[in-house]
Amino acid sequence: MDFLTIIQVLDSTVRLATPLLLACLAGLFSERAGIFDIGLEGKMLMSAFFSAAVAAVTGSVWLGLLAGIAASLLLAGLHGLASITFRGNQLISGVAINFLAAGMTVLIAQDWFQQGGRTPSLIGGGRFGPIDWPLSETLANVPVIGPVYAELLSGHSILVYVAFLAVPATWWVLFRTRFGLRLRAVGENPAAVDTAGVSVVGLRYAAVMICGVLCGIAGAYLATALQAGFVKDMTAGRGFIALAALIFAKWRPWHAMWACLLFGLLQAIALRFQNIDLGGVVIPVQVMDALPYVLTVVILAGFVGKAIPPRAGGEPYVKER
């Protein structure tokens, strides 16, 4: 494997890790506040459809992004309503959102565009184009640094940079602000937060809404940056891999980034080298595909440290009377 191939694999890693990272951070906010969310997949899918649909109709990818975020927020609100206000089961609500999104997207797409549950292909301003960093052309020929700068760092769509900037932002919000402290507390011991006179319901809704925004960006990235339009079920399980990454990262932002990059790298390697020959032993491509889940189970089983979810996660808060 030469240097250029490594750069290309890493480049592909960044592209594949971006939707995972956004969804993973989305889940992080929600679960840190005590709301389990397996509806990440559904929110991404809904956003992917609405961003592509609006971008196709208006020709503006930014309006598409807004529409995607709005659609995702709507589902997030629904999840909040079911699991915070009405204290329903959070897992069931998440599953329902996934089904709702899978069905509604195709149905609406068929009604609007009559292309069999797709949106028309996006052209020109309907997509997020790559952003070339200054001097990337000139520097491309410099050995080692050139390819890293021109191929790996430059030339991604703006949402990729948004995703990676969201990592320090998440860390700062969660661990350096009063809001973040309360948000984490509400996931560990909501009664204490309530006693302090802070609204548990308000905080949880805020977390769920942040989750909606991030899922919205992830979906829009899939449909309008990586692809040029919506295809049914195009999230293809990425919301669940993001959940696996979240557990793998033990609900911490920087670890989440590394977990998503690792899972992205595994995918990129699997796509680039179908069967890996390690001196006589051939690793089939399926092993790479399954590895994220295997790693997550290993972590959950407590072999490598212990993954302890927020203590109040999954439980609706009932005020004592």
């Binding site: 250029l4 069999g116 295809v231 049914k232 079920d233 990129a268 399926q286």
Partner: protein
């Protein structure tokens, strides 16, 4: 209770007579969905053509899961639909279980040729022959001497496509490099355009400048990325040249529409048995229209048409992947 029974009986009787009165054909789409711009959509187009020409109507269902296969077959057979047309190799097992229970119903199985039942019309396509022709075109259009193949789910049928393609490419240029990738091993591989895009980018970085997608909905991502990156792509099943005019070299046509149309036209008097649709029967071929005419030169067309004639005459043999589960031109 008795009233209930009477009502139920009446309802059942009405349902039965209604079913018997209309011997409509029924069409069962595979998991890819009716509008996959490819295999299933071709079937739908055939059925629509029949409906437009005869004024008839047909029943249809898009399968959502494996468990629905047998259920859908039985539902249609019970409802008196005749013939019941099924799409895809995965219907073979449910069909062999169901067909014997409904001896008066004729079934049509597209992409299945190995069942032993008197009331099934089994239609196989010589995909390797059509793929051979587009493989030749790919090799002639390639400037880098490297061509790519992106398959959907890793099943023998898709390897069959890839094998014919590789043989065609090698026939033009014995030194050509063929990069072949499969998207996955589960049915999700038919609907993952993001993965299709990444595979295409990986193949481009390995030098490929023509990529053949035999991957259902995933192929949309392959064709899109190929157009974005300025290389040529080859569509599959339906004519996909129009998706990116001037950027899609050609499409490997699999005339599923003709097969479905013929079956619906024959109706209840359908002939059963095993039918093979190859180049001679115009069951497969390559697409040439206004969108890709500038890409196909006269020499290319002449070479491909000659190969086509040779295959029909038996002077040229394209090895099928099914013969011994391996391909002489490429290792998957």
């Amino acid at each position: 209770m008795t009233l209930m029974k009477t009502l139920m009986g009446a309802a059942a009787a009405v349902a039965l007579t209604a079913g018997a009165a209309l011997a409509e054909p029924a069409l069962i789409f595979d998991l890819g969905g009716k509008f996959d711009k490819s295999f299933n959509e071709a079937a739908f187009n055939g059925a629509k053509r029949w409906a437009d020409e005869t004024g008839g109507s047909f029943r249809e269902i898009e399968l959502q899961s494996e468990a629905q296969r047998e259920q859908a077959l039985r539902r249609f057979a019970e409802a008196g639909a005749n013939p019941v047309i099924t799409m895809g190799f995965a219907m073979a097992d449910p069909l062999s279980a169901v067909a014997a229970d409904y001896p008066d119903t004729k079934f049509v199985a597209v992409d299945v040729t190995w069942l032993d039942a008197p009331n099934i019309r089994q239609i196989g396509f010589a995909e390797h022959e059509g793929s051979y022709l587009v493989g030749m075109l790919a090799a002639m259009a390639s400037k880098s001497g490297t061509v790519g193949f992106v398959g959907g789910m890793d099943i023998p049928l898709i390897r069959h496509f890839g094998c014919g393609y590789a043989q065609g490419a090698k026939a033009v240029n014995a030194d050509i490099k063929i990069v072949a990738n499969m998207t996955g091993t589960t049915p999700a591989a038919w609907n993952d355009p993001v993965k299709g895009s990444e595979l295409t980018k990986a193949q481009i970085s390995q030098g490929a400048d023509v990529v053949y997608a035999a991957a259902g909905g995933t192929g949309v991502g392959v064709l899109q990325t190929a157009a974005d990156e300025g290389i040529l792509s080859i569509g599959v099943d339906s004519n996909q040249n129009h998706l990116h005019p001037g950027k899609v070299l050609t499409s490997m046509l699999k005339r599923v529409d003709v097969a479905v149309y013929d079956a619906m036209k024959a109706g209840e008097n359908l002939e059963t048995g095993v039918f093979n649709m190859g180049l001679a029967e115009e069951g497969v071929g390559y697409a040439l229209d206004d969108n890709n005419a500038p890409l196909i030169s006269d020499e290319m067309k002449a070479a491909v048409d000659k190969a086509r004639q040779d295959i029909i005459d038996g002077n040229l043999k394209v090895v099928s992947y099914y013969e011994n589960d391996s391909c002489p031109a490429i290792n998957f």
